[in-house]
Each structure stands twice: as structure tokens, then as C-alpha cells.
């Protein structure tokens, strides 16, 4: 058993998957916490779905797939923030329309571009075990960038989330900080596409923070614990995917959900008697 575990973890593709998954889970904790606090999960979904359109357009124009995903995510994120400022129609409805229309459009365009063979399922549900050198570098670069910006602006982000107007009076540029935060979310979603897929990305962002909520007294505690829960989900998800021969992305999300359920129903499960 231990031998086979050693073998499992020393396999190249498993190692890549582990490094990519864990580094992503580390930034997904704090970033996902903001999505939960600011009720942006639908926003995240819309962004992720529109990324599929980005992939399709990238394939059609024969450009670097990672780069086209990142650019389209950033572009969509920017457009969505503009839309957010005009509350004439319910944002909820508008996001719903955009999320599903861009997903549908993405699938249609991918099907039309039949000169290229595309594994649609890999994009929808992720293909963590197929990531290569180049993918890993993309993930590491983007994740470090996100982590640096997040730590530089951490107090500002928390401040605008708690009360935007007080933050503005205290001299914070709320609109600019909002935009930076949204772009960080877009970047993270763009690189996590290969890991859990378009349909499951939001869950990787919001389930660990939701699970961590009951254990946290401050925003920082919630973010840090969400990162830990995310990492555990990645490792256990990978291991179980390997042993039960199931897709990795969904398996990671199932583990995260199980952890969430445990803390939801037994919030004191980790508390020792003094």
C-alpha cells in the first residue's frame, strides 16, 4: 500500500497535478472568500462559462490556448464590472443570460471548428492529469502574481468589502480596487480551467471558504483555513480519482463538498475541550 502510494506520488504527471492543484488551492482560499463575502458566485460562474468562448475563439484564430483564455477572461471580467454599475436590469438575470449564452456559444463555435479536434469534456470538467510543463508554468506564474497582488492590497480589499463608503471616505479608490479584485478572480479562473473545468471552477473557489466559515473569527482566519481545506481536497481528490478511476476535477469537488458538509453540520468538530 505504502509502496504503491510512493509510486503514485512520484509519477511525473501526478506530481505536476499535485503542484498545480495545491498552488491553485492556496490562492483560491482567500480569493474565494471574497467571492463568498461579496456574493459574487454567479459572477464567477459567468466568467468561467465565458472562458469556453475564449477557448473556442482562440482555437479558431490559432493562438496560444492559455493566453486566449486569460485574455478573454480578463476582457469579460472588465465588461461585467461595467455592467454591474448599471442596475437598471437585475444583475442576477443579466448574469444568468450571459453565463449560459456564452457557454452555449462556446460549444457551438467549438463544434463548428471541426478542423481541430477538441476534447470538450476536458474543458468542461477539467483534465488535471494531462497538464504538461507549459501548463504548470502558466499556473505557477499566474498564481504567484495573484498571491502577490492579494497580499499587497489585502487590507484594502477587506475594507471595501466590509463597507465601501467608509473605505472611500478613508481614501481608498473603491472602483479601482474592485476592478483589481475582479481581474484577480478572472486570472485565477482562467488558469484553473484545466484543473477542474469550466463547470466546476466556482465550486473550487466557494466551497472551501464556506466550509471554513464556522471555524473563523476574522477574515484572515477564514481565508487561511479555506486554503488548507482546498489543499486537502486537491490531494484527497487526486488520490481517490487514481484509486477509484474517476475524473479528477469532479472528485476534488466531491471531497471539498464532503468537508463542507462535515463542518456545516458539526461546526465544532475540530474544537478540543480547551
Amino acid at each position: 500500500m505504502i509502496d504503491s502510494m510512493m509510486l503514485f506520488f512520484s509519477t511525473d504527471f501526478v506530481l505536476y497535478a499535485l503542484v498545480a492543484g495545491i498552488s491553485l488551492a492556496l490562492v483560491a482560499g482567500p480569493l474565494g472568500s471574497f467571492i463568498v463575502w461579496r456574493r459574487m458566485s454567479y459572477f464567477g460562474d459567468t466568467l468561467a462559462h465565458s472562458a469556453l468562448l475564449g477557448i473556442a475563439l482562440g482555437l479558431l484564430t490559432d493562438s496560444n490556448p492559455q493566453l486566449s483564455i486569460i485574455i478573454s477572461c480578463l476582457l469579460f471580467a472588465f465588461l461585467l464590472t461595467l455592467l454591474d454599475r448599471r442596475p437598471s436590469i437585475s444583475t442576477d438575470t443579466l448574469l444568468g443570460i450571459l453565463a449560459h449564452s456564452s457557454l452555449a456559444l462556446g460549444v457551438v463555435v467549438l463544434a463548428l471548428a471541426d478542423s481541430v479536434r477538441v476534447d470538450l469534456e476536458a474543458y468542461l470538467f477539467g483534465a488535471l492529469l494531462t497538464i504538461g510543463n507549459a501548463d504548470l508554468i502558466w499556473v505557477l506564474v499566474v498564481v504567484s502574481l495573484v498571491a502577490i497582488v492579494l497580499s499587497l492590497f489585502w487590507n484594502d480589499f477587506v475594507s471595501i468589502t466590509v463597507h465601501a463608503e467608509i473605505a472611500e471616505i478613508e481614501g481608498k479608490n473603491v472602483n479601482r480596487l474592485n476592478l483589481i479584485l475582479v481581474l484577480l478572480i478572472a486570472l485565477t479562473i482562467a488558469v484553473s480551467m484545466k484543473i477542474v473545468g469550466v463547470l466546476l471552477i466556482t465550486s473550487l473557489l466557494i466551497i472551501p471558504p464556506a466550509a471554513a466559515r464556522s471555524m473563523a473569527k476574522t477574515p484572515e482566519q477564514m481565508a487561511a483555513r479555506a486554503s488548507v481545506i482546498g489543499c486537502i481536497s486537491v490531494v484527497l481528490g487526486l488520490v481517490s480519482a487514481f484509486y477509484f478511476d474517476v475524473p479528477v476535477g469532479p472528485s476534488i469537488v466531491v471531497v471539498a463538498t464532503l468537508i463542507f458538509l462535515v463542518f456545516y453540520f458539526y461546526p465544532n468538530v475540530l474544537k478540543t475541550k480547551n
Binding site: N155, S159, V162, I169, E170, K217, T218, P219
Partner: protein, 268 residues
């Protein structure tokens, strides 16, 4: 009580003879419409160092809109807002809703305003008597406690101007008088100007230099004693509101050194 009419400027503080009172904020001819409804019409006001200005008026009179324009959070349709250069404002909004998903202790909330100055934090907590709340969740404290915490957050910026939107809401009656007393002491101690919205003129009266009675336009303004006898005030709030005042005016104290036409009311 000494009454002097020598000073024409209510903001002139006896302790600051050398410094001319400086204008912190000036609004000039502010107009604002919402959905083609006139909310504010030709509003002008100034706030000087150490001066406490209270906005009163019925619900929907445009008080919060005026405050948001004064803060620069909202743009007026016409008119101008002047802030003294590099003016530090402490702002206490009417409502603070903390998402239940966001864990936040009182201490962490206050650190959002000022992370470095730990001494200021502890002295502010002490001044406002909220030291015991530090470790508690912001969502779990009472309405009155929350108001004090919000005031503390505003003070941690070392404000030159405090802008308070109904600071006493959700506070019980005894607590309200205490809170207004506190605000007046803060204004004295730090010589900061205060612009606040209040419904309870009888409670703020003793600590207010200028009252502005607002109902889309400025109905009347001046010293509280003057405003409460103004027909425009009486027609908005009724004579009974004015009756209440007589009960409270002997709380009046002159520690604030308000020079000028403070009328003495009959005591028993």
C-alpha cells in the same frame, strides 16, 4: 451663565483666539434631483473648526443625500462642494450591514481604519467605553454598541471633520444623551467640526452650535433656541416638539465656550 454678544461667530472658541476659525467644508447652492423629483434645492452651508452643525428634518427631506454630497460620495446636479485641502473626514454611515458569511471582530473592524497606531486604538476604545467588545463579532453586538464602534472607527482617522448620519439610532434614550455628550466632548477635545443628522433636537440642542432645518430646501437655520421658535420649524415638527425643549435646555453647559447669543431659559 455669562452671556456675551461680542462674538458674531459661533465657532470662535475662547481657547483659540490666536487662530482664525478655518472653514473645513463649504457647500454652495447645491441642487440634486432623483428621478425628476427635487431632493435638494439651493442648499448652502459651511462648517468650521470646532463647530457642531446639526441637520434636522422629516423623513425623506434629503438629509442623507446632502450628507453624501458633502462627503463627495455623490455628485450634485449643480453647485459646488469645497473641502479644506487634505481634509481628514471621519464618517459614520446610517447603516452598516455585515455579511453573515464574513467573520469580523470589533477589533479587526477598527484596524481597517488604522493599523499602525495601537495606542490610539486602545485610548479610543477606552474613551467610548467599548474595550470589552474588542474580541466580539461585529454582527453580534447590540445596536447601541455598534454605533459606538462606528464612532470609534471614524475617530481612528484622527478626523478634522466628523460626519455622522443619525449617530444615535438604535440607542436607548439614556444612551442617546450620553452619546451626544460624547460627540460634543470629542469636538471640544480635538477641535474637530461635526456635521450630524439627528431626529432629536431636544437631545442635541445643548451641544449644537447651528441647526439646519431641512425639507428639500433650508427652511430655517441658526442657533437651536432660535430655530425652535421659528414658524417653519414649528410647522414641520409641531409645537409639542418645541415644548420638549424647555425640559432639556437646562442641560446646557458652556464648557464648549460657544460665544454669542445663547439665551438663558428660565430655570426652577
Amino acid at each position: 451663565m455669562t452671556i456675551s454678544d461680542t462674538s458674531s461667530n459661533p465657532a470662535t472658541n475662547s481657547s483659540a483666539d490666536t487662530n482664525a476659525p478655518a472653514v473645513l467644508l463649504a457647500a454652495k447652492s447645491i441642487n440634486k434631483d432623483f428621478a425628476e423629483k427635487k431632493i435638494l434645492e439651493n442648499i448652502s452651508l459651511t462648517i468650521e473648526e470646532g463647530q457642531i452643525v446639526t441637520l434636522i428634518g422629516p423623513n425623506g427631506a434629503g438629509k442623507t443625500t446632502l450628507v453624501r454630497i458633502a462627503l463627495g460620495l455623490l455628485k450634485p446636479d449643480s453647485g459646488s462642494i469645497y473641502h479644506r485641502p487634505a481634509l481628514r473626514i471621519g464618517y459614520m454611515p446610517q447603516r452598516v450591514h455585515v455579511e453573515p458569511t464574513l467573520p469580523l471582530t470589533v477589533n479587526r473592524f477598527l484596524q481597517l481604519a488604522n493599523r499602525q497606531d495601537k495606542a490610539l486604538l486602545s485610548s479610543t476604545l477606552q474613551d467610548l467605553k467599548i474595550g470589552h467588545l474588542e474580541g466580539q463579532q461585529l454582527a453580534a453586538i447590540s445596536g447601541g454598541e455598534l454605533q459606538r464602534v462606528l464612532l470609534a472607527r471614524a475617530l481612528l482617522r484622527k478626523p478634522e471633520l466628523l460626519i455622522l448620519d443619525e449617530p444615535a439610532q438604535g440607542v436607548d434614550l439614556a444612551g442617546q444623551a450620553e452619546l451626544y455628550q460624547l460627540i460634543s466632548e470629542i469636538s471640544d477635545k480635538h477641535r474637530c467640526g461635526v456635521l450630524m443628522i439627528s431626529h432629536d433636537l431636544h437631545l442635541v440642542m445643548s451641544s449644537t452650535d447651528e441647526v439646519i432645518c431641512l425639507n428639500h430646501h433650508i427652511c430655517c437655520h441658526g442657533k437651536p433656541e432660535h430655530v425652535t421658535n421659528d414658524p417653519a420649524y414649528l410647522s414641520l415638527f409641531g409645537a409639542s416638539a418645541s415644548q420638549n425643549l424647555a425640559v432639556y435646555t437646562h442641560h446646557h453647559d458652556h464648557e464648549h465656550g460657544i460665544g454669542g447669543s445663547v439665551k438663558e431659559h428660565s430655570h426652577d
